[in-house]
Symmetry: C3
């Protein structure tokens, strides 16, 4: 059994953005030399998620609109009151809505690997779902298998 | 360490449907001969998810109603404009809402295995959550362990 | 390859509560002796989820408020009609909304391990998201690796 881990740096360019990281994940799987197993794509962040779906730009806009409606930016978030600096747990940004969106989507995805390839179908892509950009994020890609 | 993979064919009979696939997943775990480890149930589709909860038909209807309210079919989805055929990324169906529902729920679930049995409690079942049926889907069941 | 499993008992003290279980999960990882791999934190319950995010109490309140708005307690849940005792599938509680909230959040989280430590960043904590407390829950922590 082999375990291989590599971080990939991902740049987001707006507040909410789905960045397609499929190629970078495939490269890590290739680097790992693992032929059969799984890849765990893990976001060590509290306002960025990992999502698998179709990289169709209009669809991604539809989904973002839904996220904005389910977790409106215009709502009042108690978390943001802390951001003025009164709390040590503050992360210095008015991003209550970003955390909440990220919690709905989750921090990781696991994709099976066969013969060295991710078992993604043609329309499946792996996204880092940025909810509090623009930033540079470090995403953990861990491959487990034979 | 052993890795065993098998696809299971699942038929949905309506647009939105939770199909209980617990028995099929248990059969694959049994076929694998793996006694200690995990099973990854993975949907290689962009409009079908994997969910674990109670197979109580009224509850499933409650949850579907919530999905319909959070992601209404009656909304306008930009993705659906592509379905007329103007985009190569089109998948040929007016299913923007289906993709969005699937993104909320995610593509996989991992369940631990002990002594050859899934550690599901009595009220836990594994569902393929069809969001764009009726169709036949192929679900990947991958078992990892000893 | 080693596999190590331990259950941890978690007490919730109100109906909806995010209980920080990071320390207990770290202890199981330490007990496992596994240095490189993954930990699967799995809720074998249908009304309690596992979530990873920031343990900032105001943020957790914000997120609970969103859950209550997306899945209102005041709605009518068909599941609850069963609770009067007419169905064998009943679990004896009027908790349709609890199951639905849990389904939105999912039953497990997987976190990578390196040099014996969970790869959680400073602001990431692992929560059991109780949706139908107060209760004592048993959460499965399974470590896989080398």
């Amino acid at each position: 059994m082999k375990i291989y881990k590599q971080n990939i740096e991902i740049k987001s360019t707006s507040q909410i953005e789905f960045v397609d990281i499929t190629n970078q994940v495939e490269e890590v799987v290739s680097n790992s030399g693992i032929r059969e197993g799984q890849v765990l794509v893990y976001s060590p962040h509290t306002s960025a998620s990992i999502v698998v779906n179709h990289n169709e730009p209009m669809l991604i806009q539809d989904f973002m609109r839904i996220l904005y409606r389910l977790v409106p930016v215009s709502d009042r978030y108690s978390h943001d009151l802390f951001e003025i600096g009164r709390s040590k747990s503050s992360d210095g940004r008015s991003n209550g809505h970003s955390h909440c969106k990220a919690m709905l989507l989750g921090v990781s995805q696991t994709v099976p690997i066969e013969k060295g390839k991710l078992l993604l179908t043609e329309r499946q892509n792996i996204f880092m779902a940025e909810m509090d950009g623009a930033r540079t994020r470090s995403i953990i890609v861990q491959v487990i298998g034979l």
